[in-house]
């Protein structure tokens, strides 16, 4: 029964509902010294949390009754294609690895690897060309933003 009714969008609807509950519960933990008139730090979050619970219930009901949102259309998106979970996981993994290793590798190495990994994951055919562009991007952004605009980016272990 549940299996037949399960649709991925239900997941998002439940997230909205649960988030509403979490906001209400989380707000209860805020000590309310200044809330004699109901206008302390808890009032507005309670309002938002309560509204979210209500919206979440309506959303879940809508999905269960067969309502669905249309996937957004965009220039490079094939809206009719099934979700390519492998690409999605690859892109996610590469980005998270980049975030975890950035301070160690430094911007130039980290960003070059990020660009190379993502372009190959998204289907770049010439590996060598992708690698060259990646290094150019890493070095160019570093020079432009650190030396040109005074932004702080990590040097990492391969400091220049």
């Amino acid at each position: 029964m549940i299996g037949r009714r399960w649709r991925p969008e239900l997941g998002l609807a439940v997230v909205v509902l649960v988030l509403g509950v979490l906001v209400v519960v989380g707000t209860l933990e805020v000590s309310a010294a200044a809330s004699q008139l109901g206008i302390g730090p808890r009032f507005f979050p309670m309002l938002v949390g309560g509204a979210m619970v209500l919206i979440g219930l309506f959303y879940v009901a809508d999905v269960l009754r067969g309502g669905h949102g249309d996937p957004e259309e965009s220039e490079d998106v094939d809206a009719a294609a099934p979700t390519d979970w492998r690409s999605l996981a690859l892109v996610s993994g590469i980005f998270l690895a980049f975030a975890a290793l950035l301070d160690l590798l430094g911007w130039i190495v980290g960003a070059s690897l990020l660009f190379f990994g993502l372009s190959v994951a998204l289907g770049a055919e010439h590996r060598l060309r992708a690698a060259v562009i990646a290094v150019v991007m890493g070095v160019a952004t570093y020079l432009l933003f650190v030396n040109g605009l005074g932004v702080n980016l990590p040097n990492g272990v391969f400091a220049l």
């Binding site: 998002l12 989380g26 220039e75 979970w85 998270l96 980049f98 975030a99 990646a134």
Partner: protein
């Protein structure tokens, strides 16, 4: 001083060589990023926001004005030359524009879009000069309950009008409001919803939310269902148009401007409804050749909607500058840019910072003229930008997203927050939740709370204070009506009228 004198002072400030250079950088970057497929005006502004932090406020806003208008120009080029649906505000342009391009009239389509955008942008910016002081003198008497009601109207209007399903629009709004709650409460210093993570005490930066929902969200979404066929870009030379094209374009430009400006200024109006209305109006008014060509690439169907699109961009600035009220996702990010400099748009901004406001408005005129010069001869270059292989394009978008977010605070924690928001952006796209309400909720939510608490403090806890002022009562009634739009839409559909198009930016 009259606003005309103030505007002249603004021109004096904007016309210095350094500020002209910033304006030029702004329009060039805005167009370049706006042309890139998959990047709408809101994402353009969000991605380029961190760059402006390195320059002084007056110059930053001049640059920003250029980016804002440049992003609008760039989007129309994409929709004319690329045979795929793009962001909603320029989707209407694509209907006739792409067909014109495929019949070998790409140069004329681009020319009428660029010149129409210039005409509409100039007229609408002039209307902004006239309207802004009037709204300011009206809004100076607004109390906190009026501002709260305005925010509520913006919330409900953007959630219901811009989305096909009200519950999805509201869900998006709620997500934004919750993100806006995270951090220390400004008035009492209490930590809220921080999950005990110290980095969340300052709240989540607007740049991270915008870049996450727009840039990373889009990249993940594209990764999940990339169109593998190479993009079909219509080749084009220098943009130009002949005498008959001018004759057929000028009236649609003016009509488009008249539709676009007021809709842009209304909460929930945005660019989608006026561009659609302009398209429909031109279709109905078409006679002779135009009537035969409509549906196969009529220049009127490009001229009108493009003018409406740009006029609405200027209209959006009226409530943004005078009331601090964003009516579109792009405007919400502009508001965030003001807040980054500790400035709060509203009547006081015109009082305390006239040089900055009028310098920005003057640079809208200047940027618009620059864009015309930039766009007509450079069309072939933009067409080449459209051919960038998609793997490199999206790898680059993610790279710049990470760069902008890391540069904010220099901590990798922000990159993980960015990823979570990117996933949220992906899910919202995948399931058709509009992104605009979330961005507006996140940015306007904290301000709505402050006004609500002020109003209730004045009323000593009596809730009826919220409707005591007639303005607030009317605005709240309109908000309630906005939530009932699906009913109206059903009634209209039953009468055989087409429903309004769905929107995003």
């Amino acid at each position: 001083m009259t606003s005309f004198q103030l505007l002249l002072d603004g021109f004096a400030a904007a016309l210095t060589p350094v500020n002209l250079l910033y304006a030029l950088i702004g329009v060039t970057l805005g167009t370049l990023v706006g042309v890139l497929p998959g990047i709408g005006p809101a994402m353009t502004v969000a991605l380029l926001l961190p760059i402006t932090f390195t320059v002084p406020p007056a110059s930053a806003f001049i640059m920003f004005a250029g980016i804002y208008y440049g992003g609008m120009y760039g989007g129309s080029t994409t929709s004319i030359l690329l045979n795929t649906p793009g962001e909603s505000s320029s989707m209407i342009t694509a209907l006739e524009g792409n067909k014109m391009a495929r019949r070998g009239r790409a140069a004329q389509a681009l020319a009428t879009a660029a010149i129409g955008s210039f005409v509409a942008g100039t007229i609408a910016t002039a209307l902004l000069v006239v309207a802004a002081p009037a709204v300011v003198s009206f809004a100076i008497a607004f109390g906190p309950e009026d501002y709260f009601a305005l925010a509520v109207l913006a919330f409900t209007a953007v959630s219901s009008v811009l989305s096909r399903s009200v519950v999805r629009g509201l869900a998006s709004l709620g997500l934004g409001l919750v993100i806006g709650l995270i951090g220390i409460d400004q008035q009492t210093g209490q930590a809220r919803l921080t999950l005990g993570i110290p980095q969340l005490l300052d709240g989540i930066d607007v740049v991270i939310v915008a870049v996450g929902l727009f840039a990373l969200g889009e990249a993940l979404y594209v990764a999940s269902r990339l169109r593998h066929a190479p993009p079909e870009v219509v080749p084009v030379g220098r943009a130009w148009m002949g005498r008959s094209d001018w004759r057929r374009s000028w009236l649609p430009w003016l009509r488009g401007t008249a539709l676009g400006f007021p809709f842009g200024a209304l909460p929930g109006g945005g660019a989608e409804i006026p561009t659609f209305l302009s398209y429909a109006a031109e279709k109905r008014l078409a006679r002779g050749v135009a009537r035969e060509e409509y549906g196969k690439g009529a220049i009127e169907g490009v001229a009108g909607p493009e003018a409406a699109n740009n006029a609405s961009a200027a209209g959006t600035l009226v409530p943004l500058l005078t009331l601090g009220l964003p009516t579109s996702a792009t405007a919400a990010i502009l508001l965030a840019a003001f807040q980054q400099y500790g400035l709060q748009p509203g009547p006081q901004l015109f009082d305390h910072n006239p040089a900055l406001v009028w310098g920005m408005i003057a640079s809208l005129f200047i940027g618009n003229a620059m864009l015309l010069v930039l766009n007509l001869p450079m069309a072939p270059l933009w067409a080449r930008v459209l051919r960038v292989p998609r793997p490199y394009l999206y790898a680059g978008i993610v790279l710049f997203a990470a760069l902008g977010v890391y540069a904010l605070n220099g901590t990798v924690v922000d990159l993980f927050v960015l990823y979570v928001l990117g996933l949220l952006g992906f899910a919202m796209r995948r399931f058709g939740l509009p992104v605009a309400p979330a961005v507006i909720g996140m940015i306007l939510g904290p301000m709505a709370e402050i006004q609500l608490r002020r109003a209730l403090a004045i009323g000593a806890g009596d809730v009826s204070v919220l409707v005591r002022s007639p303005i607030a009562a009317v605005l709240l009634a309109l908000s309630a009506l906005a939530l009932l739009t699906p009913l109206f839409r059903k009634l209209l559909a039953r009468r055989g009228l087409a429903p309004a198009p769905r929107g995003e930016d």
